[in-house]
Symmetry: C2
Subunit: 403 residues, 2 copies
């Protein structure tokens, strides 16, 4: 039922042949040449020059056709309705001049697929494994990556380096900015407007006479995640240091994944309890009463840690069944002890003009107590969501590819 | 080790005794009188006048002490550090005049607990079951609750009625507002500022010459959830109708929980595949490339449905393993057929001056195609998060209790 696959041309003309339009502005480097095809009615196997093989089902190819009929030419969104089409079946699969794939379906529709795009979208076991990178864990000996303000602010290359470092490590420091109010937003706006929460868009962290949060006192703060009383706490927090002349007030950072995985190893039952028993987290003041019920350790369906809701002052009542309550408290104390363990803690001292940004899902933050009368400690802070960080990084990829 | 429990006084004086300050501005009605206590070192059993019993562990009580030492008097946040305290043990538990609980611990600390507060926080099996209300499911015969604009805008009673209706049903219509631009924000701001997304804070839905989304065409839109390409799509969407004089353009609403539970019953294997295989969802235009990888059916650890990511034009590539891809597409088609089934669909026609607001997690929305030349269809829309809706409702409770 399938026409024989042609071989990819290798003449200069072929290499200059236009790439199929995938209605996708992201760059797709030609990692490896498409050198052969083996097709049946239901699927085509792509053979790559580096000896990898990728299987693409007829239904997947038909569903992902990028022609102007199947994707809206202006919005680039899919308008093809698979449910209204007959069961897709391949009539022919060929390699176009230029080395791209052309598939013709039993209903007569023909689709072209860019070889770089296809390779990036492959869903064979090796391809899925390559794309599934677990987050990096670290402990007290990790050096926080640092990025000069001037490079982050100029062009897309420095911006991309900073965001890649942040996404990989979960924490990064922008250095050598002028130590003045307003610079925080200048940096964060490289990505997007900060996220608004019950603390507003910009919050100033100093010892306030009428605090509505422990952050606005000079108390020491044990490592914690912010806003865990929200269904979706903000993904990143940025803190810009304007002044830090008090004796104490060093920052503390702990990789939440590292300590929680340590608990899983040391005490699987404690880990399970913390991942199953819901706890109410809550913030209340005159203008709001924001509560969320969730376990301290949030796992996905595969048992991977998604989030650690650890915050002693936003933690409200534990809703364990009566028979598990005492055990839950023992489990919580174990986790807490690990978080306090200095072997897991970074304790950098933020200098004026430095902005630390960290992943509020993966990294707990805290501070040592300080004496508000023995100097000044003044930070500006804001939140930002991961969706915008990864989107921004993709835009820098687009820009780099267009050069 | 435990002092005998005193009995609650019932004199006028006792009933006028002040209630313990729980550092909690929410109202806690005295549902039932505390009439007896049975205490050991580790826990106290509260006996209620309605014959219910509640067990409270010593560690839970100590952790939840609301005195000014254990909770910050200004922030009302917990400052007590359980990890630094000795293992809590009860020395005495008594019923105070007024019917509240006083607990004294082995370390000498004494805590008072309001009986209404205690009852609301009970964690016995019956109490947890009472608080665990599954979301309401409905089909085509459901009548969308309607709330007059004037009542929603005036005082906290109408506001509370509207929000309760919305939270219960997942959809509500505010009626009889002036059909003009600006009224959407006036209503939504009763709760909070709308959420900013890549479509801005306010979006206008009409057929645009250069659309960046299918919403901004006159195409029919199958029932879908918005912004499923975000890690946390907005919880609620509000659409205010300014004009709707085209022939078609009726709205469509489908309870996502109802159809997904129907799939679970009819085809458990299809349900499982859709809940396990990750799919990339994506929106791209000149200013962003926002992607999120997640299964179509998101389950929590207990297997309850948390969210349905159903949106044919934001759906990008399915990342099923090769051996499951064909089966995934069959499963997806089954779900899609259920969503198209008219027995599950509400098809109201929004009149000018009506604002529909619905739960973007629980309710899919769509519209019939319309002829942009045969009249005008002009909606204003915005998003809002659940945290703010439930917080606002709690503030109306506070207000009502203060009257």
């Amino acid at each position: 039922m399938i026409a024989p696959a042609s071989q990819a041309g290798s003449s200069l003309q072929a290499r200059n042949a236009p790439r199929p339009d995938m209605a996708d502005p992201a760059p797709y480097p030609l990692v490896s040449r498409l050198v052969g095809l083996e097709a049946t009615d239901d699927a085509v196997k792509a053979l790559w020059d580096d000896h990898r093989e990728s299987q693409f089902h007829a239904v997947w190819l038909r569903d992902n056709c990028a022609c102007a009929t199947c994707r809206h030419p202006a919005t680039q969104e899919r308008t093809f309705l698979l449910l209204d089409a007959e069961q897709p079946s391949l009539r022919a699969a060929t390699i176009l001049p230029g080395g791209h794939l052309e598939a013709t379906f039993a209903d007569g529709h023909t689709s072209s697929f860019d070889a770089g795009w296809l390779r990036a979208k492959a869903y064979d076991a090796w391809a899925l494994a390559e794309r599934d990178q677990p987050p990096v864990e670290w402990a007290a000996d990790m050096e926080i990556p640092r990025f000069p303000f001037a490079e982050v602010m100029m062009g897309s290359e420095g911006l991309a380096r900073w965001l890649k470092g942040l996404l990989e490590t979960g924490i990064a420091i922008v250095t050598e900015a002028p130590a003045e109010s307003g610079r925080l937003f200048e940096i964060v706006n490289r990505v997007q407007n900060p996220k608004e929460t019950n603390f507003g868009t910009l919050f100033e962290v100093f010892s306030k006479p009428k605090p509505n949060s422990s952050a606005y006192t000079s108390l020491g703060l044990e490592p914690h995640a912010d806003l865990v009383n929200w269904a979706c706490p903000p993904d990143f927090q940025a803190l810009f240091c304007i002044e830090n002349s008090t004796g104490g007030g060093r920052s503390i950072f702990v990789n939440a994944m590292t300590v929680t995985e340590a608990l899983r190893l040391q005490d699987p039952e404690a880990f399970t309890l913390l991942s199953e028993v819901p706890v109410e987290f809550r913030f209340q003041d005159e203008t709001c009463d924001l509560r969320h019920l969730a376990p301290v350790v949030e796992l996905d369906r595969q048992g991977r840690i998604r989030r650690l809701r650890f915050n002693n002052w936003l933690r409200n009542q534990t809703c364990a069944p009566v028979e598990s309550m005492a055990a839950w408290y023992r489990a919580y104390a174990k986790l807490w002890s690990l978080i306090r363990d200095r072997r897991y803690q970074l304790r950098p001292r933020l200098a004026p003009g430095e902005m630390v940004i960290f992943d509020n899902v993966r990294v707990l933050h805290g501070r040592e107590a300080y004496d508000a009368n023995a100097g000044r400690r003044n930070l500006e802070g804001c939140y930002l969501d991961r969706d915008w960080v990864t989107s921004c990084l993709r835009l820098t990829d687009r820009e780099a590819a267009a050069l």
